[in-house]
């Protein structure tokens, strides 16, 4: 399982941040060609990100590039460069319909074929940033086998709703739709950024909410947010011990040819084992297949 607890934004026209991006331990690095880049610098940012990705080793982080939307005309130019730089994932902004995903996928596939890159090797994720996108989340999540996740982009979304970012009430429906759509499709759900980087209490409050809701992780705009985010997603020792005991009990039951086990008088069934396995993966503990 690939952990996607943290997806750190890296502005695509900032060489210093691009150089240092790997050192903060984010699970995913998202190089941005879209909103963080001035319209007059789109070409320069594309060159910078392309050259960085073909030169710098960012492992073990997953490499994501946020392109401009295809309707702007810039998105196609971004894809021509970035697909050839072999990132793990292309992030499509402002996804409103399943067609937005399939249109982008068609271009990625064309470029893969032209460039001799194995077809299907470039992953995708879709950022949902409008009421239309939220209501279409299930269709978007199922639109392509390349999708590794869907994400909420809250700033554009609350503007579309004619509201503002507040205590999370304004995002409750969108978060619920997105996490359910993602889990239905078997992919990850990524929450939006928390922009007040000096408010760690507020950030942690939001991280706890999205963790409870089932999100895989969250976008971050400052490296300082990574450690508290990972800490919150890290299971407690008590939960780890319990999960290990569950895995041991099911292992013993399987050895005896039984599909059902019990632990301290409680039945261990398939969902309990799946939860224990996920928790151990979050804790970085290897589990037998």
């Amino acid at each position: 399982m690939k952990l996607r607890r943290s997806m750190m934004f890296v502005p695509g026209n900032n060489p210093g941040m691009i150089r240092d991006a790997a050192i903060y331990g984010a699970d995913c690095l998202m190089f941005d060609l879209e909103d963080s880049v001035a319209i007059t610098e789109k070409d320069a940012a594309r060159y910078l990100v392309y050259n960085a990705l073909t030169t710098i080793d960012y492992s073990p982080a997953e490499i994501v590039v946020r392109i401009n939307d295809l309707e702007s005309g810039l998105g196609i130019q971004d894809l021509e460069a970035i697909v050839r730089a072999r990132p793990d994932v292309i992030r499509l902004p402002k996804t409103a319909t399943a067609k937005d995903v399939t249109d982008c996928e068609r271009e990625i596939e064309r470029i893969e074929k032209e460039a001799g890159i194995p077809v299907g090797s470039t992953g995708m994720m879709a950022a949902i940033e409008s009421a239309e996108g939220v209501l279409n989340a299930p269709q978007i999540a199922l639109a392509s086998k390349r999708l590794i996740g869907i994400a909420l982009g809250a700033e554009d979304y609350v503007t579309d709703l004619k509201t503002t970012r507040a205590d999370g009430t304004e995002l409750a429906f969108a978060r619920g739709m997105i996490v359910n759509a993602a889990r239905m499709a078997g992919i990850d759900a990524l929450d939006t950024v928390y922009s007040d980087v000096n408010n760690e209490e507020g950030f942690l409050h939001e991280v706890n909410i999205i963790k409870k809701m089932g999100f895989s992780g969250k976008s971050v705009i400052n490296p300082r947010q990574i450690e508290p985010l990972h800490r919150t997603f890290r299971p407690s020792q008590k939960d780890i011990d319990k999960a290990l005991a569950i895995m041991e009990a099911i292992k013993e039951a399987n050895a005896k040819g039984s599909g059902v086990a019990s632990l301290k008088g409680k039945m261990i069934d398939k969902p309990v084992v799946a939860r224990a396995r996920y928790l151990l993966e979050l804790a970085g503990i290897e589990v037998d297949a």
Binding site: N14, P15, G16, I18, R19, D43, A44, Y47, L48, Y50, N51, A52, L53, T54, T55, I56, E80, A81, R84, A85, R86, A115, G116, I117
Partner: protein, 98 residues
Amino acid sequence: MKIVKPASAGTLESSDIEIRIEPADESGIEVHLTSSVMQQFGKKIEAVIRGTLEELGVESAYVDAVDKGALDCTVRARTAAAAHRAAEDSNYEWRVKA
């Protein structure tokens, strides 16, 4: 690629390099470089600028570069961006990562 007008790319921020390219009266590439790491890396940076322009087929240009500790990949990116702007050429040749 023919340089037809003055153009620049990059900034004077730390880790960046500002590249300004202008048409030259004579053939050949003239590079004027100032760098915060001139003693250690000046020759290397100039070689990267020249190599990038040669790859793009630029035969004549005057280049003014102010380096603030940029990595080679940043020097390549800023040089290529400035050259395309100065040539009013948006036909890029992206190579597949090895």
